[in-house]
């Protein structure tokens, strides 16, 4: 008996190689736009960057100066949006993952979450105007804009949290239930400690997404131009994303490097947050407990 490759073996091996290379090329193609965007922004925007750029307000009808109020405003918006969406989203995910029986109500809730995730951000913006600005009487304010952002990010927080919870093996829960633990005791002692890394990772990714959102905040609380910082959550505020939109389309005579500089800062924040999230995940994966 000799073991020689048949013609079919050889052809299969060739095909294997072909597809491998094909899929690799496709994947590399994905990185290309990211690289181009970053290089372009660096090339065009680097001259705008300086310490002053981060620490001064826009000047001369936004044709000069920095981004300080917008930067602070974005922090406000994202922070308050987080304060709303994280408790709500995590609680909802805990209910759906750990308590909810498989019945029509649960199915409707799941359907609603999927649909909520698919709603365009401009529709969220209009909802925000109707609900928070007008109905709850927040006015156009940080509060209204943050709530709108929170509603928009909620489905993603719920889905990513639920997936982290589901990644904890059922056997752990059953072991706890069998010794007389309530569902809450099981969550507190076993499920949450072992899913918190995934939950946090999902939340960081969510933050980085909401940093760049423009539509949901432009009618609800973000201002065209405010030379001073917001004093309370009922004030309007500038925001980086809207600022970028404004100086690149609405204001004449802006030197070209300025919008590129703002874009660079925006993408820098997003990349920074994503790297933190990846590093965090790698750190915790190293500590994986089962």
């Amino acid at each position: 008996m000799t073991f020689e490759a048949t013609e079919l073996n050889i052809r299969n091996k060739k095909m294997e190689k072909l597809f491998r290379i094909l899929f690799l090329m496709m994947t590399l193609l994905l990185i290309l736009p990211v690289l181009i965007i970053i290089c372009l922004l660096l090339a065009e925007g680097h001259e705008a960057l300086s310490v002053d750029f981060f620490l001064t307000a826009p000047q001369n009808g936004m044709t000069a100066g920095g981004i300080f109020p917008a930067l602070v405003g974005t922090l406000w918006l994202v922070a308050i949006a987080l304060l709303v969406s994280v408790p709500l989203g995590v609680a909802a995910a805990l209910y759906l993952s750990e308590y909810a029986p498989d019945n029509w109500l649960t199915r409707i809730i799941n359907l609603a979450i999927v649909n909520l995730a698919g709603v365009p951000s401009i529709v969220h913006a209009l909802f925000g105007v109707g609900a928070f600005v007008l109905f709850f009487g927040f006015g156009t304010s940080i509060l209204a804009a943050s709530f709108t952002l929170a509603i928009m990010t909620l489905p993603v927080v719920i889905v990513s949290t639920r997936e982290s919870l589901q990644a904890v093996p059922l056997a752990f829960r059953e072991a706890c239930w069998n010794m007389g633990a309530t569902r809450w005791q099981t969550i507190r002692h076993v499920v949450l400690p072992n899913s918190i890394s995934g939950i946090l990772t999902g939340i960081i990714l969510e933050v980085s997404r909401s940093v760049g959102e423009t539509a949901p905040i432009m009618f609800t609380g973000a201002a065209f131009f405010l030379p001073f910082l917001p004093q309370s959550v009922f004030d309007q505020t500038m925001a980086l994303s809207l600022h970028l939109f404004v100086i690149s389309t609405q204001v004449p005579g802006v030197p070209e490097h300025l919008p590129f500089g703002v874009a660079l800062v925006l993408i820098g924040i997003v990349l920074l947050l994503n790297s933190i999230s990846i590093a965090f995940r790698m750190y915790l994966r190293g500590k994986k407990k089962w």
């Binding site: 059953e174 239930w177 010794m179 002692h189 076993v190």
Partner: protein
């Protein structure tokens, strides 16, 4: 082989009485017409091939049907003189029943916390008390000597056999009246299996044990009485010795224990 049966005193008081038990998953009947009595301080063996409903019976005894989607139990189970369906607080009920699964479940907590979890759930906070309980349970599960120097490393990183003894220690930390063992030796090497069996022989003086096993000889070694389950029916309940000495009432039992099928 026989000695254990003599020097034991079962009180003769029934710990569990099962009457006309039927278990369904959705529309599928898993177990039907089960009637049996398990006496206090006995080891009650249950043998039978896969899908005979053994595990489902254990789940019903622990009222896990409450936590299992689609599982329905009819008939009566009386535990310590009280109908299971009449228990208002199922968490209190389950605290009195320890369970050991086929695959060891070392919770992703430290060895200490694994065993201290149940006492903590019962409200014991004092560290000294917890240490006493943890040491006692680990000793009784024949694991103490192997883990006493690494009580604070993760329980889920112990070897399979150690994790299974950890699971037993955890069950014992509930101070249960009843211990349910579901094919505990499936993922455990023979030496560890023998050690655990020795542990069980010790434990029988203090509690009642239901031992579901796929190893027929294990039932013979441990059980006072043995039930044979087949395809969702309880074919026979008899003295273990009778079942293994060709005095079984049902020919199917005889065939099974002699390895002619299943």
């Amino acid at each position: 082989m026989v000695d254990h049966a003599q020097n034991r005193q079962t009180t003769g008081v029934p710990k569990i009485i099962v009457k006309d038990l039927m278990i369904l998953y959705g529309n599928k009947t898993i177990l039907r017409d089960v009637n049996l009595e398990i006496k206090e301080n006995e080891i009650f063996g249950i043998i039978g091939p896969a899908n005979s409903g053994k595990t489902s019976l254990l789940r019903a005894l622990n009222r896990m049907d409450d936590m299992t989607a689609g599982m329905k139990v009819t008939g009566d189970i009386i535990f310590s003189g009280k109908r299971l369906q009449a228990w208002k607080n199922l968490y209190a009920l389950r605290q009195r029943i320890g369970v050991v699964f086929p695959l060891p479940v070392g919770l992703p907590l430290s060895v200490f916390d694994n065993v201290a979890l149940s006492p903590r759930l019962r409200g014991i906070r004092n560290q000294a008390d917890l240490q006493v309980i943890v040491e006692r349970c680990l000793r009784r599960a024949a694991l103490w000597d192997e883990v006493k120097d690494r009580l604070h490393s993760l329980g889920s990183l112990l070897s399979g056999g150690q994790q299974q003894r950890l699971t037993i220690a955890r069950a014992l930390s509930q101070e249960p009246e009843l211990l349910l063992l579901d094919e505990f030796s499936i993922a455990v090497d023979p030496v560890t299996t023998m050690r655990i069996e020795d542990v069980l022989k010790e434990l029988r003086h203090e509690l009642t044990i239901v031992l579901v096993t796929n190893l027929v000889q294990q039932a013979r070694r441990l059980a006072d009485r043995t039930a044979f389950f087949l395809k969702g029916e309880c074919v026979e309940i008899n003295e273990t010795e009778k079942i293994f000495t060709r005095q079984a009432k049902d020919p199917r039992t005889m065939d099974y224990v002699e390895g002619r099928f299943g």
